[in-house]
Symmetry: C2
Subunit: 348 residues, 2 copies
DNA sequence: AGTATCTATTAAACCGGTTTAACGAACGGT
DNA sequence: ACCGTTCGTTAAACCGGTTTAATAGATACT
């Protein structure tokens, strides 16, 4: 492919002039501009992205990173992505999925800076080396979700009010009369699982629910199916402790697992078991039988706000640490009801 | 950030030696390697990605491109992405979402080569300038979906057998006794819509179905909601032509729209209306009421095969044009049945 | 001992752009 | 006619790596 040199030679001007014609960072006469453009067109010339990035120290690419090996994007990530992409699109940025195996990154021959101007980190964990690493470099970063406590005031992030949201939903269930819960939580090492557990436990213990009746089970890890986890955990829990009258699920897919477990035990929802999910805004939740009550997290907006925060941070060289909390909305449908049996009663 | 020069100076060797220590493309003595690595560590040095790309003419990034302005990734795209990402992950490639507004790309100051080694093009259209453009450059490309006829033998692609699959499903419905159809198709300019329309029409006219009874409606365009499109189109069609006893939907979301239309007209599925979808492998289709009959397209596998094909093409400099057809599986659940009314009968 | 071979290292050229500093020409003001 | 600007252009330095060609030193071969 033709280089800037070729174009310069063909149109009888210097490299610098051709550069200015394309970058438009300096005025060039109408006549010369036309001559250069004509030469460029006939040579099929386009400026080389890498050379340009090297010289101008900017790539107009932002990265998005997910921890963990061999991950897959979930429904929730999809909405996040769409939010981020919308902002990228509006601002002329490309989006790089910047996750590689550690076994790859750790090899000397692959060690390098990242090919991006800034990065969004997803799914922060309680012990998450990514943030510290990005901060020692000068890479602008925005986290989606609450980072570990030692970084909460050192890195920008976007999150829902997970604690508050969980308190609210737990109170809702308490208000309906529930006294024994199963909480299907996110994987244990993720900060979001922590926040939700805290909210749940706070609300439950404030209402005098004994420890045995607020059972929390953490999803083993990313690669296991949410559906299966929801199904099997609910099945086991209901067998071991028939008192349980309400299941709080991390996602709508997990909730679906709970539905299936209830069905296979012959337990009706919401009559004998209430189910609720911190769901994404899936088009399907209203179609569950019965329609699923849950909380809208506005994943797309989380993504959008994160991208906006990142671009702002990249633009100004202002190291102010900003935070955005995206509100959640509880959507009451028909999967929760007052428990039919009084506290202490037994199913079947 | 420290450069290779700094490291060379600090460890008392030349730039070239430092380069070789990191790239491992040439042997360096144990002793020198250690000295260089020590200096690099103390300076917190990492090779610069863009300088490296410029010199070595490779980025280890592959792109994925979707046509159209302000698109959003769908469920189907999510599965594709996961398939592509799995291959990227295994092979040490990053994935760049390489879609930008035309209004951005067309401006002189943004014109440039793409920062990638190869690209996957999604959702090919009947008149799609992307392929021709990539071919004139030397960018390796794989298309997911059938490209326009003039490129079918010039570019590698991965696809389902959309024609065959549609013939099969149409025959299935014909076999149940249906004689009047509504086909909710993908947007008209996409080649997949073409293929499916062809398969449907071929099967229907071979069975002697008159033209008026094989109605095809194309989704207006990407930004409209599939759910709404399915709902409104089905509603209108059933009102205009109560004969219709089967709806074939492009996606499960569209099918859900058809379900809702049926519900609001008081029509029961599958008794009075059969619905079928070329669905993705959504976990939710089995949960529809009634469970949705459809076709598995194996989106994740489409993504995987495309990525593998692309890497192969990038590795060897072999311009052989390869094609991969991923098989589809029809999954019969309970949303289709023999129509209750004889051909020519009228609802309500 | 003399030559051929192999190894590790280096200086310099190169990848393809951007940017700085210098400069001549045209312009405006007095 | 002279000076101070402004404008458009250029040569050269620079961004931070890789690669080539040359070289010195060690090893092997006869």
């Amino acid at each position: 492919m033709a280089t800037i040199e070729d174009v310069a030679r063909a149109s009888g001007v210097s490299k610098g002039t051709v550069s200015s014609v394309f970058s438009k960072k300096r005025p060039i006469s109408r006549e010369v501009t036309e001559r250069v453009m004509a030469a460029a067109k006939s040579l099929n010339y386009k400026p080389n992205y890498w050379a340009r990035s090297l010289a101008s120290k900017a790539t107009r690419i932002i990265g998005i990173n997910i921890p963990g090996e061999k991950f897959k994007f979930s429904q929730f990530h999809l909405s996040l992505l769409n939010g981020v992409l919308g902002v990228c699109y509006d601002n002329g940025y490309r989006l790089l999925v910047n996750t590689l195996p550690l076994s790859y990154l750790n090899r000397t021959e692959h060690l390098s800076t990242d090919p991006i101007d800034g990065e969004i980190l997803l799914d922060p964990q309680t012990d998450d080396p990514r943030i510290a690493e990005r901060l020692t470099g000068e890479m602008p970063v925005v986290v989606i979700g609450r980072p570990a406590p030692e970084f909460e005031n050192r890195v920008a992030y976007v999150d829902n009010d997970n604690v508050g949201m969980t308190v609210e939903t737990t109170r809702y269930l308490l208000g309906l009369g529930h006294r024994s819960f199963l909480f299907l939580n996110a994987p244990a090492h993720r900060t979001v699982a922590d926040d939700r557990a805290r909210g749940f436990l706070a609300a439950a213990s404030a209402a005098g629910i004994p420890e045995a009746s607020r059972r929390i089970v953490y999803k083993p890890d990313a690669d296991s199916s949410s559906l299966d986890f929801g199904y099997e955990t609910t099945l086991r829990a209901l067998r071991e402790e028939p008192d349980i009258s309400a299941v709080i699920a991390d996602t709508d897919t997990m909730a679906l697992g709970a539905y299936k477990a209830a069905e296979s035990l012959g337990i009706r929802i919401p009559d004998a078991l209430s189910v609720l999910a911190f769901s994404d805004d899936s088009v399907f939740s209203p179609e569950f039988a019965p329609p699923l009550t849950g909380v809208r997290l506005h994943a797309e907006r989380l993504g959008r706000e994160a991208a906006l925060l990142l671009l702002e941070r990249m633009r100004e060289d202002d190291k102010t640490v900003k935070r955005t909390i995206v509100p959640t909305d509880m959507v009451i449908r028909s999967s929760c009801a007052a428990p039919t049996l009084p506290y202490g009663g037994i199913h079947s």
